[in-house]
Symmetry: D3
Subunit: 240 residues, 6 copies
């Protein structure tokens, strides 16, 4: 299957606008093609119950979609009165991914709230959320360090995320919504700037897949993550 | 009390970006000073139970704030599991205001969903929601008319909204958050392009107010609505 | 349009039964025509979080309708699992109206709970709730003062509420349910004994209304509030 | 233990006001001493899912307490967002008790809603609810029969309820709140006019009780039910 | 009506497996015929609000059915978002029954949680829950005493429960599901090892029942409870 | 790090009891070491909304833990009123895994409900749920085929799941709870009998991991899945 408009191993155009919101400690609007996610990072002076008196901090994420981010209006989870399964799954993934590069021991009993609000959805909202939130997170900790609230910069490495799919018999990097809907296999990779893996999630939507195919998908994902990390480095410079 | 940066009877800078979202039938990002609200209008082919088989349509609105739209992060209503009282009050006001200029009898058993999502809050989010949603609503019905889904254009008049407050002993038009927090009296006006009233809500936060004061507030509100209607006309041209 | 049974600027027969309940600190059953609301005022020794350690008190209101208060049985909000938008709007109005005449600084960190339970609904339940709760509130504070719990009597002025509507082309004071259902314009006024305004809420259900019409409605509302305040004074005597 | 004010086997003064509400098909305010419960019966033209297309009707009950029906204000179940265990237990009991004397086969696929709202609570609210709802139920079916909606009168027998308790070492009939709080054993009996049992519920709050004691309690309950049935007969006359 | 497989006054085969779960302080799987309930008892170091600083302990119970414990899959109460009325009624009964034989004053401000999870339901799940939980409760307190957490053994007497029903015109002891579904009268008895009553609940599902019939049902229940208590004694030996 | 009691690449003792429950179409109790999960499969004659009139079937899964399945009692999700994020994540995984080997097109508009209830938890409950549910699913479809409800057997391949973790610097297969708590990397693999992958989920709890390490973990997972598939084949024989 031939891909329209870009090469099979090419990510969509990425645009990141820092400091999109004046109230969040750190914020970034990330656009990957038509997908747009508003990411913020905020520090609060308390931790969940299981960390009380531990001296350690925490990082947690919330994810939501605006009703009109998709072609068919989706009803608000506030109106339905409960947060759905897909939302839970995604926000847990975002939280784990960012915690993996954050030193939770050195900013006291504080919680970082990551909020990812999807303004427009065209595939890859969970991976864009991770890549964009990283920018907001770094900016938040830099502000904290400048204000003397945090002594040591707690981010250890870059982190970014990308999807890869098997569409028909072709492997495509960074699926848009139409491609994702028809994919046989759907994988999401979260990796560090150093090329190590933080999260790997693969699902056979149709037919189970071989180890060989998985390796090919991992190859192209590694390339895509590299492109995203370069973009992040260009924006943020050295981590400190 | 002297006002910093603008005159007592002056509205904040207004900026409206049409077609902000590709998926909504109509959409507009309205910015009044630092307040930013994303407004969309979407038509669905069903009506609430009380209108089944009536041949009439309906218009309803939902309003929400992003967690980091305010200086202190507010928890999501989806997480709390219920829509709060202030949200209910505001979305009911938006719905009534737009219904007042919409002919619900001529677009069949369909419901217009107005979604107002506050990206950044600096006072006047409910009034900005009404003024901005009007743009999205007109654009949505124009698209419907072009596509032949609606025969007759169902909007009868312009509608816009503005706040007026008594801060100290001064009347201020279009309060920002800091002014609103300290206001003795807080009024919101919704008016048509023809200068008639659609909604009027006044509250004595501190001391009850005289009829004379109310009249002065109404005078300046009329001026403010006029400025907003001019802006809307500039964007939309004649209603049809 | 001619009104059946009473003049256009006449309120319905008002009957107020004090101390209707033995357990509430203050209680009153208010009947306006066929509308009957049971109002109570109770003091609790705690305040909401935002007032902790402020030395100030608070007043809040809850409103509910019995399932059979209306011709068609309405389902209980406890069964539906959530408090609806209309209820929220009304109880916030009641709370603001009574706070406007109450000095919250002089009865310590206590909360007054106002409970308005509609036994029978025939229009004007929110305005009757305000007028009736005022009686319960004064009685509650008098009891508190007699028992030495409160030193200074914290009510500054009388407060009462009334509706006015445009039915056909006639202005009617104090609408019953049938009149309210067909009203073009629906306004609610809350005013003090001194004739100042505490809340004003006007809604164009059908056609937007002119400033001139609003002024006529305000005139007759002022008369109606005067009648209610006289009734309250007759019952309560001087405020202290 | 000597009982103050009435004999050990004497029920409190009973007062029943029929047609207390204009909107319910049948309604009654029952007062037993200081306990006051507003009971209504309403017919709706639908049945629960398990009776669809069965040709049979249903009867269900809801029970609630006003916040200030008790000395300490109880929070509304609508605010808590769920109906509590005690409420569930009581409304299930009321429903079963009235179904036991109602022929559900002869009024079509309709549901009778019994609503019991406790205005003031001083012990015995569940038993008063049953005794009072019976009046509302009979009145509702009589109205239905007069209007030709129901052909045959579907109530087979009188039903009333009473509590008996062991307080200290004395058996008391029809406990008030103070007596109930200190009772060792607490029993509720629901019986027909013919003296048969519909429901019997006994609980050892403190020490388990002997069969002999249970028999003594049943004796005095039978007397109490007889008094209530006489009262009901006096009000309603023959059942038809 | 002749009963298939066992005598009218015979309980089903009872099998109790102690220490079924490694994590609970006490646990027992009780099987009565095809009915299987997993019962656990666990102590936590806190009490409900109304017992704070009272020096007293508490015991509470929760009851649930697995979705496939019944022939038709029942939806989970977690999915429905609320605990139903029948569940509330049953878990309150279990709690009261076990509290009646437990000295709550001598194990400090601790709460015993009784969990009854129905694995397979064939009638009598509430009575089996009580009989089985008693085993778990005794084992939990014995472990506590051995570990020195509790000084004095707080269980005063055995407690067990059984159902009796009128099926057609026959009295049957310990109804299975098929018998229960067709029963005219349904009674549940909870009694101590000493033969005193802790709870008695009787319901006329069809026709109201006479006192004479109730006495016959109580006779056979007493026999059934005796059989269960013997079984408990055989397993547990003397209470201490 | 040396592993106590079994080799690093050895799974725990597996025991599967078929037909554990009489009411479910298919049921199996799976025990892996001390972890015990009760799995059932049931067919209902309806599909979710998005499949109405598609002619296709669906398979969905629910997962829950008994309160005392873990050392510290966990509160019921029914009591908390909402299904938590971890539960959602797990039940979505179970559903996807079984759908991957099921032909949803050939059993009509029916839904298979998989229920996994954890009786005792000692690590690996989600993987045990998948392995055990497969047995219940096959048994359910065999019964359906025997009864003529389903023509063609819709299961295409075996499916089983296993965890692998990096504990200290050692790779361990099939982690128990203690091992899982301290793992640096935690992966779950779901594979078919043919050795292809259905789901792969890897998480760096501590340090991100290299591709080389992932390959070693995949190697040992493949061995573990093979052991489980052999066990399944032994029990079920050929798929048909």
């Amino acid at each position: 299957m031939k891909r329209a408009g870009r090469k099979w191993d090419e990510i969509r155009e990425v645009k990141i606008t820092r400091d999109f919101l004046q109230n969040a400690t750190g914020s970034a609007l990330i656009e990957m093609g038509k997908t747009r996610v508003l990411c913020t990072a905020t520090l609060e002076n308390r931790v969940p119950g299981f960390l009380k008196d531990s001296g350690k901090g925490w990082l947690t994420a919330e994810y939501a979609m605006l009703p009109m981010s998709t072609p068919d209006r989706i009803s608000r989870e506030s109106v339905r009165g409960r947060v759905g399964g897909r939302t839970h799954e995604i926000q847990r993934l975002i939280g784990r991914s960012l915690r993996a590069v954050t030193n939770l021991d050195i900013f006291g009993e504080r919680t970082v709230y990551i909020d990812c609000d999807v303004i427009q959805a065209d595939g890859g909202t969970r991976t864009a959320s991770i890549t964009g939130s990283f920018i907001a997170l770094v900016d938040a900790f830099r502000k904290m360090k400048n204000e003397g609230i945090v002594d040591v910069f707690p981010i250890r490495d870059y982190v970014a995320a990308i999807s890869v799919g098997l569409v028909g018999d072709s492997i495509f990097l960074d699926l848009d919504y139409a491609e994702d809907s028809g994919a046989e296999v759907d994988m999401n990779f979260v990796m560090t700037g150093g090329g190590d893996m933080v999260e790997i999630q693969g699902t056979a939507e149709g037919t189970p897949f071989s180890r060989d195919l998985m390796n090919q998908m991992l190859d192209v994902a590694t390339k895509g993550i590299g492109d995203l990390t370069s973009k992040q480095m260009e924006i943020l410079g050295e981590l400190s």
